[in-house]
Amino acid sequence: MIEKALKGNSNYWMWLAFLSAFIAVGGICYLRQFLYGMHLTGMGRDLSWGLYISQFTFLVGVAAGGLMLVLPYYIHNYKAFGRITILGEFLAIASIVMCLMFIMADIGQPLRGLNMILHPTPNSMLFWDMVVLLGYLGLNIICGWVILTAERKQVKPPKWVYFFVYLSLPFAVSIHTVTAMLYCGLPGRHFWLSAITAPRFLASAFAAGPALIVIACLVMKRIANFDAGTEAIKKLTTIIMYAAIINAFFVGLEFFVGWYSNIPGHKHSLEYLFFGLEHHGHVYNNLVPFMWTSVFLCFGGLALFGYMKIKDVFNDVWVGVGCLMIFFALWLDKGLGFVMGGLVVNPLNEVVEYYPTANEIGITLGIWATGFLIVTILYKIAVKVEHEVEGHQ
């Protein structure tokens, strides 16, 4: 089926070339980091995790978000998602590849990465994260490929693949739960030490993943003659709304716990993220504009969707805008605020702000571009197969 990705119009090739340019720059930046060391990043002794790990965390969510398509279709037999379930599975593949690339970019001795397998350590959540991520990647490759092949041949998928489909449902939940457990089990990191971290991650994942899929569907409707169907898009926006509202509710609960208990450690990170943290006469607030942008985008997107539901109007452009707003809001919340906010006060009560370097941003953009490239190719294959099948009918 791969050969279907090798035929396309000039726009397709231009888009791939555009992404490849970012990948090339990212590759050069990574070579610099590999050869000279990680002091080329903005990370340091106090902020020893940064952009890479926060992107990793966000993208695990995007991968898990595919569950919101797979679950209604396979468990509730919701036929409207029939055409797009494959998109959820393929998005998960690309997201996890990006996750693994971010992990490799983040570790100081990438050539020793196999030590995770040669010396398995079940008490480390990172070990389990590797297990569930590789498992989920494998499951999505198997399910996506087998089901698409069956569709192409216009036969029912083999029965055995449903075992893997159903297995992938708890795996989707597990990848983001275990990723949350990387954070929420660490003593002395108050912002992360919260049992609501995992549910919050899942809620934001179930909004961000589908939002990206809706955007992809709308783009493909325009340029690839692929119509996901209005019913499916409408149902997805409902799912996105509920998930984004639940995420906002969970963030609100964090505020309550911090301010009502009045325990400084529980407040510091939120103060830093939303209002600026005053420390020895200096106010640290470099993320405040980003976090308020996140708040306005999230509620703006929700209001837009709410309006369209109440007035019963449907417009591709506004749905796309709403999804972009919510996706970007959740990226700011989890792909930026969660990690940096949790680290801003170090274990010795010193405040250190994080500024990523150009080299680091280059690598990050390169990995994102790689993900988009994989998504483009996989979606191209999926759409071509659908067209081929429709042509036969």
């Binding site: 030590n115 398995p120 959540m125 990387l182």
Partner: protein, 275 residues
């Protein structure tokens, strides 16, 4: 023919999968002797402690340190000496950049060292003096719990939380787990920043985490930790077995009121302070 090929592919696939996962299974099922004895140690710690929130009955050697700050007040030169000696014997690079610096033992104000103690009306002495901080060699170390490769581990013979620089993949999860900020990462090649190389101790490479090792290499030669020796003249640092009631450190701990850093986190630090 086609069926045979399919069958072959199935068998080959299963074999490859089994081969790939074999090291995991072998390593998980066959615990090395060191781990087996750690298991025994854990069995004793799971016995309910005598007092609620207290530590379990001691077993084996657990090395600890007592820093009597009363003997260091007003003598910043002694703190400097401790730090300098440690840097020298352990080939710690001197990087003048807070972002990339490496620290094993260093000085910091009272409010930063003891973040859970009140500083509302702290004494003049506490306000005017710096305090020595280092790895606490916890009895329940979160860094060991989170490490995905066992590159940091508890040495069961001494209770020291040790590092294997050759196994560390540099994920820095241990730095996240440590609630004392005791760990440093080699953001760049440290060797050019080592003033005078001590050939008796390994210099680290870029991309691995390091921290205080309670001078395990000196203890093996029957010597005291370098910091203890550096302030021997005033006897400010006492080092010994916390599980041996007859040791000097235990006799002082019996007599004096001591505090630990962030003891409420349940890490059971092995470094005690008299302030």
């Amino acid at each position: 023919m086609d069926k045979q090929r399919r069958k072959f592919l199935k068998i080959a696939g299963v074999t490859v999968l089994a081969g790939m996962s074999a090291p995991v299974v072998v390593n998980l099922t066959a615990a090395p002797p060191a781990l087996a004895s750690a298991g025994k140690g854990q069995a004793t710690t799971s016995v309910p402690a005598a007092a609620h929130g207290g530590e379990a009955a001691p077993k084996g050697v657990r090395l600890g340190m007592l820093i009597d700050m009363r003997k260091l007040y007003g003598r910043p030169e002694l703190l400097e000496k401790v730090m300098a000696v440690c840097n020298k014997v352990h080939n710690i690079p001197k990087i003048d950049n807070k972002k990339s610096e490496i620290k094993w033992i260093w000085k910091t104000p009272y409010a930063n060292a003891f973040i859970d103690q009140s500083t509302n009306h702290s004494s003049k002495i506490a306000r005017e003096n710096d305090f020595l901080v280092l790895c606490n060699h916890c009895n329940q170390p979160p860094c060991v719990r989170v490490c995905p490769t066992k590159a940091t581990f508890v040495d069961t013979k001494t209770g020291i939380v040790a590092m294997d620089y050759h196994r560390c993949i540099g994920c820095r999860f241990c730095m996240m787990g440590c609630p004392y900020g005791a760990r440093s990462f080699n953001w760049m090649d440290p060797q050019p920043f080592i003033k005078e190389l001590n050939p008796n101790f390994p210099a680290r490479m870029r991309g691995v985490v390091e921290k205080c090792n309670f001078c395990g290499e000196r203890l093996a030669l029957g010597k005291e930790p370098a910091c203890v020796e550096a302030v021997k003249e005033v006897g400010a640092i006492v080092f010994g077995d916390l599980n041996d009631p007859q040791s000097e450190i235990c006799r002082i701990l019996d007599k004096e009121h001591t505090i630990q850093r962030s003891a409420a986190l349940g890490t059971q630090p092995s470094v005690f302070y008299i302030v």
